[in-house]
Structures are given as structure tokens and as C-alpha cells.
């Protein structure tokens, strides 16, 4: 209601200003009044079926009277002073206001406010307090669910029990969902700022900028855990089954980001130099999110498989037995940057440009305690809190109270260009970026793991050496250099050559360095003024040094796995573009790209191959001044192959030489699986603009389509190997059985039509219509329900979701509007 009144008031004010300015303009002649601007107002009605939050993901499409756009600029022809006000969507979630003014050549200031909504999805939350940092469940609910908790011993050899305690728990939870309130996960960014630029003299400038952004709302965040379960007494775990527990939560967002920058520079025609200091303060008003575990009212620990008190080395059964869980949210931080830049003209029509920055980022937010589960204090095995005599719920028990996070960055970018001859242009570039993390390295005696119900003494779980619990502040240095030559062989033909180098050095990571060399060539051929063809090819080879082999403390991942961003890579990349304008009325553009990466060909696992192909067409046709058509089409195709394998420790081939167990840890070749991923996206756009009555009545229509499909075809590559070793053709872990997924499909249709009538020279009225239809087919979202018990491969009785998803919508928006320009 208040927003509506504000909108009306703003419209009235702007209309008054516009009429005043229009009157002045009429009296004094066009532009003489010194005021110019526009006012766009209208009435809008929408109808949305389906996921309206997806339709309004970043916008506020509302019904009723609206001021869409308004601006006014006050400036006399002979004056140096100017003032401009811009307003968009006042009193809406996506409102924008700007005030700019100044004196030409002397100073300029700007004051703005911008609001951006971000609607994620609707959902259902069992918790009270959504949007705050404390999510609660009624005690009686926790008590009731704890009373029907089914222990491992009680469960016996049946993981999916629908008649005992599981059924009771499910019944209670379903009852809760029946009463739960819907909740919309959404954010809002509100940013305000002020900037001032002053020209001290013709060549000397100074500037200052201050912005503050407030981000508020809630987004989904999930806290979960799992427990592996061997089905059947005495069986090898050929079929790993799992219990999962957890909850979708609403992470409260209440961020403030303040930035300040100050600078000054001298800008001459042949050289320039400037200096800037910038400061960023990030503040999160919520350090933690604390939530009640719906399934426990009292704290307890995990147990041994027999239900006894958990001992050192146990995997921990009965996980997730805390009464209150906690999540650390983004910590506060501060950063400073000093930047110096300069450029100077060089002989041979050359120029040197360089910029150097030095900065640091600090973060010293207090750590939360290990856990709120006080029962862990009773664990007494060696290294456990009971043995150490520490209180895990007290942050004072931590070896350090905060990270004392401190990162220093040093970066530089330098370019030298020259044109030594009329036909040759050279460019040499060098960039440097050093990220030095000087944060504390802290060793913890252990941590609360397995659903905050067990005390883990190791950071990961390998077959060799496990890492103790300490953080590793990563650092890296990245350098790139490139030389390009542009040689005009003849008037229509330019030849392009380039060579590049990129080097990374890393610390506290499972890789030491990577080095990449590249070389490329291309041409630009302008056959005529209205036709040009541009094409290029580049080859690049990246090599890796010091990749730490897996299955140990330094790299707990599988032996033979290479992360794709750290892998050896050979890249071929080519692109071409053809532009032809056979007449002033017709323009035709064709473009194509192809890229192929081969990654880590000498290792078994990870992303192995990526191919990207894209081809497009752009046509515009203007047969007369009254009619214009446009068409664009793009097809993108991406194909990739990733290789993986299901982990095993009991289902092995045995002693054959093909047994790679010793080479690849627990990854038996029989359990390998590969996935071929194919993603195709077609994008089509057509448009027509027709002046039905010349300069009076205009129809502007467009249609856009985006249609993408992603296929995930998974297969087991080693069938023949299994058979050769006496196994049945399908012998493998259940976890490794190839399961291709249904095609993931995205479809968006958008139709827009706008019929405008230019009533007077400065007054246009019109009607507009928008139709959007969106549909997502993604099993991971379409198969979701708030409560998945009985529907999942795992036993998910103790996992409560929010179903924070969207899948389809159909939206119609009609508008009647008036645009008054003055």
C-alpha cells in the first residue's frame, strides 16, 4: 500500500515536472527550455501459472498502475552545469534512482540507489524462525521422533523398515509437513552509492566513490550426513546401502558490503599516471545458523556397529544424534588495495601501459565451538574430548580463537604495442598475480564429524597415511605472457599470429605447478567493403609438475584421478566469422567455433575429453524504412567424457595381473564406470518491426526460444575383463552399475508484441504483451518432494527437505502505457 502511494506520488511529481518542462519547451522552442526527459507510465496485468518465483527471478512484475521509467535532464545549451534524474520502477522490488549533476569539465557527482530482487524458489519448511539465525522445532516433536528412533541393532539386517520405528517416524514427519507453512527463498540487494569526480585542471583528475550494499533474505542450505550399511548378515558389501539424515534449512542473509575508493591521476595526451586506493568491508550480521534436529531432543553420540560406545577408528554408526546443529556462515572480512597505473606513448606509434596492485585481505571472525553436541564430551577413547578433557561446546577449547586470516596479493599487467612498419603491429603482454595466504595453520586434536556425533581424529580416510586435522592455507602465483603480430599483407588481407605462455605455481595444494604454451594464427580478409571473413586457429599444450599421487595424506583422492583444472591438456581451438552485407537492406553474419580438449590421457580417472562446437547465423533485412526483420540462430554442442569408478574393498578380481587394486587402491577395474555427456542448446530469435502507419503506428514483435538437452550416458567399460577372469558379465558392485540418466531439458519460449501509436511528436501510447513459457525436465528436481522417505535409494526417513525447486511456468503480461518525451 505504501509502495503504491510512493509510486503515485513519484508519478505525480514527475508528471508535473514533465508538463512544466513541456510548457517551457513549447514557449521557448525545442531544447531551449533546458529540460529534456521522458515519463513512461502504464497499467499492467499479469497471469502466471506455475513457478512464479522463477518467472520473477530477477524482476518485479506486478499488477496495477506503474511508473516504468522517468527521467529529466536540466541543462542549458550555453551552460556548463547539468542535472539529471533517472527513475525506474519506483516503489517496486527492482526500483532504481539516480541523480547525476555537475559542471562540464570541472566536476561530476552521482548519487544512486538500486534494488535487485533474486527469487530462488518456493518451498516448505518444518522449522520456525525462517529468515533468522535460529531455526526451531517444537520440543514435543523432537521428543516424539526421538522416542521412535531406530537403532542399528534394532534395525538388524533390514535397512528399509516400513513397519517399525521408521514407519512411526515417517508418520509423525508427514503430519508435520501437512501443517508446515510455505516459504519463499529469496534475496534482495539494495545498493546505494555516491561518487564525485573533479578535474583539478584540464589534465588532473581526482575521484572518490562510496557504496554500501545490503543483502537480505534467505536461501536454502542443507545440512546432512550419511551412514553406510552392509545389507545382509555376513555378506560382502557388494551392495552398499545407506541411511541419510539431514535437513534443508533457510540460511539467513543479512550482509553489508561497504566499498570506498579514492584516486587521482594525471592524464596527458602522450602519457598518463594515476593512483587509487580502495577498501572493502564485508559484514555478515549472522555468524552462525543454529537449528534443532527434528529427530533428537537430547544429545547423544554415534556408536559402534554393536551399539556400544564409539571407539577410536570406528566408522561411527547412529550418526546425526545431536539435538542442535550449527553451521558457520560467511565470516566478516576487510580488504585494501593500492593500485598505480600508467601509460606512455613510444616510438613507432607504440605505447606502454602498465598497472600494479598490492592488497591484503584479513579475516579474524571468532570460530564457533566444535559442536553443540555436548555428548561428545563423554567420548573417552584416545584423542577424544573426554580423554583430552576439553569441552567441545566451548569455543575456548579450540587451539586458536580465529584464523587470523591474512592474504596478500600482488598483481601487475603490462602491455607494449608498436607499429614498426606501416603493415606490422606488435603487441606484447605480461600479467602477474600472486595470491599469498599467510593465515595461521592450525592443528586441531580432532573434529565433530559424522553428523556431529563422533570425534574424528583424521581429516580424510585413505588406505595409506591419513592426514591429521589441520588447515592448509593455499597460495598460488599465476603468470601469463603473450606476443601477437598483426601483419597487413595486402589491403584486404591481414594475417594474425600469436604465441602465449601461462605458468602457475601453487603451495599447499596437491599440485606444484602447471605450464602452458600456445601458438595461433589467423587472418582477416576483407574481400570488399561489404564482406569480410575472419578465421583463426590456436594450439595449446599444458603440462603438469608435481601432481601428488592419490590415496595418501597429501592427496586423499583416488590414485589415477586428475582434476581437470590441474591436468595435462592439449587444446585445439578454431573460430571463424563471415559477414556479408549484399545491400544496405540486408546483412548476413555466419559464425562458428570449435574447441577440443584432451585431458590427462595417461591417467585413468577424471574428465578426459571436452569438445565444444557452436555455429550461428544472424540476418537482418530492412526492405523499406517501414519494415525491418531480424533472425538469429545458434546451436551449441558440447560433448565430454569423464571416467570414474566405484570404491570397493571386498569385491575384487583377486590375483590376476589385471587386478589394479594395488595400483588404484580400492578401485577395481570391474567397477569402473564412464559417462558420456552431450549437451545441445538451440537458440532462435526472430523479430519484426513494422510501421503500419509511417511514423505513427508501429508494431514491434519478437520471439525467442532456448531449448537445451543434456544426456548422461553411463557405461561400464570392463565387461570383457570380468568375463575373462571368470566373472559373470555383469559382475560388479551395485554402486558401479551403469545408470544413464533421463535427458535434462530446458525450454523457454518468449513472445513479445508491442503496438505503439505516436499521438503527438512527444507523446506515444501503446499496448504491450509478453508471453513466457518455461519448462524444466530434470530428474533431480522433478523427482523431489519435501519428504522423500520411501522414495529414495537410501533410507531417508530422517531427511527433511524443503523442495526448494521450480519446474515450469506460463506467464502472460499485458500492458497499456504512455510515453511522454519532453
Amino acid at each position: 500500500m505504501i509502495r503504491g502511494k510512493i509510486a503515485c506520488a513519484a508519478a505525480a511529481l514527475l508528471l508535473s515536472l514533465a508538463l512544466f518542462a513541456g510548457t517551457a519547451q513549447a514557449e521557448a522552442g525545442a531544447g531551449i527550455g533546458g529540460a529534456a526527459g521522458l515519463l513512461d507510465i502504464g497499467v499492467q496485468q499479469k497471469k502466471v501459472n506455475g513457478s512464479s518465483e522463477k518467472f520473477e527471478e530477477y524482476r518485479d512484475v506486478r499488477n496495477g498502475f506503474l511508473v516504468n521509467d522517468a527521467s529529466i535532464r536540466l541543462e542549458q545549451d550555453a551552460s556548463r552545469y547539468f542535472l539529471e534524474v533517472k527513475i525506474k520502477n519506483p516503489a517496486q522490488e527492482n526500483e532504481y534512482y539516480s541523480l547525476t549533476g555537475g559542471k562540464h569539465g570541472i566536476y561530476k557527482y552521482n548519487l544512486f540507489y538500486d534494488s535487485i530482487p533474486h527469487n530462488f524458489s518456493d518451498g516448505v519448511l518444518l522449522f520456525n524462525g525462517a529468515g533468522t539465525n535460529r531455526l526451531s522445532i517444537a520440543d514435543n516433536v523432537q521428543s516424539a521422533l526421538q522416542a521412535v528412533e531406530q537403532t542399528r541393532v534394532e534395525r538388524g539386517n533390514v535397512i528399509t523398515d516400513t513397519t517399525g520405528e521408521d514407519a512411526s517416524a515417517q508418520s509423525i514427519v508427514r503430519g508435520l509437513y501437512a501443517q508446515a507453512n510455505p516459504f519463499t527463498f529469496k534475496l534482495k540487494r539494495e545498493k546505494a552509492g555516491f561518487s564525485l569526480e573533479c578535474n583539478v585542471s584540464e589534465d588532473v583528475k581526482t575521484w572518490a566513490k562510496v557504496t554500501n550494499e545490503k543483502r537480505t533474505g534467505a536461501r536454502v542450505i542443507t545440512a546432512g550426513t550419511y551412514e553406510r550399511y552392509a545389507q545382509g548378515s555376513g555378506l560382502a558389501h557388494t551392495a552398499d546401502l545407506f541411511l541419510v539424515s539431514g535437513a534443508d534449512l533457510a540460511e539467513p542473509i543479512d550482509f553489508r558490503t561497504t566499498t570506498v575508493s579514492l584516486g587521482a591521476g594525471v592524464y596527458k595526451r602522450s602519457w598518463l599516471a594515476d593512483f587509487e586506493y580502495s577498501f572493502t568491508d564485508f559484514n555478515n550480521r549472522n555468524a552462525a545458523l543454529i537449528w534443532d534436529n527434528p529427530f533428537r531432543i537430547t544429545d547423544a553420540t554415534a556408536t559402534s556397529s554393536a551399539g556400544a560406545s564409539a571407539a577410536s577408528g570406528d566408522n561411527g554408526f547412529e550418526r546425526g544424534r545431536f539435538a542442535r546443529g550449527q553451521l558457520s556462515l560467511s565470516p566478516d572480512s576487510k580488504s585494501h588495495d593500492f593500485t598505480a597505473s600508467g601509460a606512455v606513448d613510444l616510438p613507432h606509434r607504440g605505447r606502454f601501459t602498465g598497472t600494479v596492485s598490492y592488497g591484503w585481505i584479513t579475516q579474524d571472525s571468532p570460530f564457533l565451538p566444535y559442536t553443540l553436541n555436548s555428548a561428545l564430551n563423554g567420548l573417552a577413547f584416545a584423542g577424544a574430548p573426554g580423554a583430552l578433557g576439553i569441552d567441545v561446546t566451548n569455543a575456548g577449547s579450540l587451539p586458536k580463537s580465529n584464523l587470523d586470516g591474512d592474504v596478500k596479493t600482488l598483481s601487475g599487467s603490462f602491455v607494449v604495442t608498436a607499429k614498426p612498419t606501416h603493415s606490422l603491429k606488435t603487441t606484447l603482454k605480461y600479467r602477474y598475480y600472486d595470491y599469498k595466504n599467510e593465515s595461521d595453520e592450525i592443528r586441531f586434536p580432532g573434529y565433530a564429524g559424522f553428523g556431529e556425533s563422533y570425534w574424528r581424529l583424521i581429516k580424510n580416510d585413505t588406505n595409506t597415511t591419513d592426514a591429521a586435522v589441520f588447515n592448509e592455507p593455499l597460495s598460488f602465483t599465476r603468470q601469463t605472457a603473450g606476443l601477437s603480430l598483426d601483419y597487413h599483407a595486402s589491403k584486404p588481407l591481414a594475417l594474425l599470429f600469436d604465441a602465449g605462455w601461462e605458468g602457475w605455481k601453487r603451495e599447499k595444494l596437491r599440485i606444484d605447478s602447471t605450464t602452458e604454451y600456445s601458438a595461433g594464427a589467423g587472418f582477416l580478409y576483407k574481400a570488399a567493403k561489404n564482406a569480410s571473413l575472419k578465421a583463426g586457429y590456436k594450439y595449446a599444450k599444458r603440462t603438469v609438475d608435481g601432481y601428488k599421487n592419490g590415496d595418501n595424506a597429501a592427496n586423499p583422492e583416488a590414485i589415477g584421478l586428475r582434476n581437470f583444472d590441474w591436468a595435462d591438456r592439449v587444446r585445439h581451438k578454431t573460430d571463424a566469422r563471415f559477414q556479408y552485407d549484399p545491400s544496405e537492406t540486408l546483412s548476413l553474419g555466419l559464425s562458428g567455433q570449435y574447441m577440443r580438449d584432451k585431458l590427462a590421457q595417461d591417467s585413468r580417472f577424471g574428465l578426459k575429453k571436452v569438445e565444444n562446437v557452436a555455429g550461428g547465423l544472424d540476418v537482418s533485412y530492412t526492405p523499406s524504412e517501414r519494415i525491418a526483420f531480424s533472425l538469429n540462430y545458434l546451436r551449441e554442442y558440447r560433448k565430454s567424457r569423464m571416467n570414474s569408478g566405484a570404491k570397493d574393498d571386498a569385491f575384487d578380481i583377486g590375483t590376476t595381473t589385471d587386478n589394479e587394486a594395488t595400483l588404484f587402491g580400492n578401485f577395481n577395474p570391474l567397477n569402473y564406470w564412464n559417462t558420456d555427456i552431450k549437451e545441445t542448446t538451440d537458440t532462435v530469435g526472430v523479430g519484426a518491426k513494422i510501421q503500419i502507419l509511417p511514423d505513427k503506428l508501429t508494431l514491434d514483435t519478437s520471439y525467442n526460444l532456448s531449448y537445451s538437452k543434456a544426456d548422461y550416458n553411463t557405461f561400464n567399460p570392463n565387461r570383457d575383463l570380468a568375463v575373462a577372469n571368470g566373472f559373470a558379465a555383469g559382475a560388479k558392485l551395485t554402486n558401479a552399475v551403469a545408470q544413464s540418466w533421463p535427458t535434462v531439458v530446458n525450454r523457454l519460449h518468449e513472445v513479445k508484441a508491442n503496438l505503439s501509436y505516436k499521438w503527438f511528436a512527444n507523446l506515444t501510447v501503446g499496448v504491450g504483451y509478453l508471453f513466457e513459457w518455461y519448462k524444466l525436465d530434470d530428474f533431480a528436481w522433478n523427482n523431489m518432494n519435501p519428504y522423500m522417505a520411501g522414495l529414495t535409494a537410501e533410507n531417508s526417513t530422517k531427511f527433511v527437505f524443503a523442495d526448494a525447486t521450480y519446474n515450469k511456468y506460463e506467464a502472460h503480461v499485458g500492458q497499456i502505457y504512455m510515453v511522454y518525451k519532453f
Binding site: G31, A36, R59, D77, I106, I116, H118, T222, A223, G224, F255, G265, R269, T280, S330, S333, A343, T355, I361, Q363, F367, L398, G405, S413, V415, T417, G449, E452, K459, N460, E472, P473, L474, F476, G550, D565, F605, L607, L634, M642, G645, A646, K647, T681, T683, L705, A710, N735, Q739, W741, N746, L770, L776, N783, M784, T792, A793, S796, F801, A804
Partner: protein, 300 residues
């Protein structure tokens, strides 16, 4: 002081004069005759000259370009006025990109925003000033099209396609009240050249991301290395067919780099909690790093 030394003032004046001579040389080569003044141009080109009144170039004199007018860019129009012949006057838009841009840079090379222009991607691809700007226009930033994105999409069609995908930044369609256009290409890129790759106007790609996603900038206790090395390892900034602008669907994206436990190395059926919803993030929500002492596997 060495009396034989050339005075610095003389050197500066000489350098400036040389620059001006170079910048104007192409004009002299393409057109000759006398300067006639903008009023003369208005006699035939009233619409264009009139539109200049609301154009920032009408105020060029306040920014150091004394006596700026039509002939500042078009060269002396005397011969053209006498003959009416179009070929007797320079039309920068129809010249080569380098020559056309030289006219603009005669004044705009002084700007901080253009300091990395020479040798930049657009410069080397011969996409000069006139490829994107219409000097006679009155659109914002004198762009050739009403909307900045439309200018960029003319060549970068794959980015236009990304705006229609499942997840993207708030950039789509700023031409109407029902649009999302809260960001433009220049929110991240400087088309006139930048210190970073891909014309990113920041120290690095990540530093550009942190400008809006400041909560991911700070060092934390337990890091996820791509968050500090390169956001593009997992995200596609222009848009994606997957949620959160991810380059690939989870869990396959995560599985391409992580193989440890049994639960994460399965092929995973369509009704597995490890594949449904937020997939791996159902249990590892702190994917951008955790500052919790009990968060070494990014669980809390």
C-alpha cells in the same frame, strides 16, 4: 644547467604537436580544402547537427577540445561544400577501424577507461570505436543501439544465447518494464581494454566476482581451491543449462574431481539422495569454504 640542453617545455610542446599532427594526418590525406565551420554543415545536415545539441560532444570544449565541431572528426569540408561530392569529405565510419578510431582517440586516449585500448582484444580484432558507437546519436554512451547488450551481442551471439538459459545473471532484456536488465556487459568487462584476460575490469576474474559476491573473498579455515583460483572452474558466468550457473550438472561436476568414499563414487540412480536436489551439497553445503573448526569436508 647545461645551456645547450633542449628545454623540457619545448620537448613537451613538440611531442604534443607531433601527436596532433599524426592524429590529423589521415584527415589531411583523405580530405582537402578549407575549414568551413559547423554552421555551414547545418545548412544541409540540419537533423544531424541539431541532434548534436543534446550530445555530449556539444560540450567538448569544456573538456579541452577547443573549437570542436563537425570538422574535428570529418576534416575540412570546403571541397565537399563546393562540390557536394560525398567522397570529398572524410567519413570515419567508412574508414578502416584503425583510422576511424584514431579520430576518437585524439581526444579519448586521455581517458582512464581507454588506457588499455591499444593491443586489446577489440583493437587487435579491428573492432574500432565506430563498430559500437554512433557519434551522431543521442543514445546512452552514444552507442549504436538502444541497449549496451545488443551492441555486444551483435558479435557475441553465444552470450545472447546464454541470457535465455536456465540460470544466468540479471541481464536479460532491459528494453521493457518486464525485463531483468539489472546488469550489463560492462558490469564485468571493459570493451576498451582491461588489465585482465577477457577484458575483465579487475585484477582477475575472481576479483571481479568478489565485487558482488564479497562473502567468498576472505580466506577461511577450510578452503575449496577453485574458489580462490578461478570461479570459472565450476561456473559459467554468462549462463548455464544447470542450476547456479554451473558448468555441469551436479553430482557429475563434483565427481570429475573427487573420488574418495563409496557414497561419492557411485553411478547414482535417479532416486538417490546423492543426486537429488542439491546433490553433493545436501551434505557439503559449504562448497565455497568453511570457517567452522568441524568443517574440513565442508559440511558445516
Amino acid at each position: 644547467m647545461n645551456e645547450t640542453a633542449i628545454p623540457k617545455r619545448f620537448l613537451r610542446v613538440a611531442a604534443l604537436a607531433c601527436s596532433l599532427i599524426l592524429a590529423a594526418a589521415w584527415i589531411a590525406l583523405a580530405a582537402d580544402g578549407a575549414y568551413v565551420g559547423s554552421d555551414k554543415c547545418k545548412e544541409c545536415h540540419e537533423g544531424i547537427v541539431g541532434s548534436f545539441r543534446a550530445n555530449i560532444h556539444a560540450k567538448a570544449a569544456y573538456y579541452g577540445a577547443k573549437n570542436a565541431g563537425c570538422e574535428s572528426c570529418h576534416g575540412p569540408a570546403g571541397a565537399h561544400v563546393e562540390s557536394g561530392d560525398k567522397s570529398k569529405i572524410v567519413n570515419p565510419a567508412k574508414n578502416s577501424a584503425e583510422i576511424a578510431s584514431a579520430a576518437c582517440l585524439a581526444c579519448h586516449a586521455k581517458g582512464k577507461g581507454q588506457m588499455f585500448w591499444k593491443g586489446s582484444a577489440h583493437d587487435s580484432q579491428e573492432a574500432g570505436c565506430a563498430a559500437c558507437h554512433k557519434v551522431h546519436g543521442n543514445k546512452a554512451k552514444l552507442l549504436a543501439k538502444p541497449d549496451e547488450k545488443e551492441v555486444c551481442f551483435a558479435c557475441h551471439s553465444e552470450v545472447r544465447a546464454s541470457m535465455l538459459k536456465r540460470s544466468k545473471h540479471p541481464m536479460r532484456d532491459s528494453s521493457s518494464p518486464t525485463g531483468e536488465g539489472k546488469m550489463s556487459c560492462s558490469a564485468c568487462h571493459n570493451p576498451h581494454g582491461a588489465r585482465s584476460e577477457k577484458l575483465i575490469a579487475a585484477k582477475s576474474i575472481n576479483d571481479k566476482c568478489y565485487e558482488c559476491h564479497a562473502e567468498k573473498k576472505a580466506p577461511v579455515l577450510w578452503e575449496h581451491s577453485p574458489v580462490k583460483e578461478d570461479c570459472m572452474t565450476c561456473h559459467s558466468a554468462h549462463g548455464s543449462s544447470f542450476d547456479k550457473m554451473l558448468t555441469q550438472k551436479v553430482p557429475r561436476l563434483c565427481q570429475s574431481c573427487h573420488m574418495q568414499g563409496r557414497h561419492q563414487t557411485g553411478t547414482l540412480s535417479t532416486n538417490s539422495v546423492y543426486a537429488l536436489g542439491r546433490s553433493c551439497l545436501n551434505c557439503h553445503p559449504m562448497i565455497h569454504g568453511s570457517n567452522n573448526p568441524s568443517g574440513p569436508v565442508l559440511q558445516r
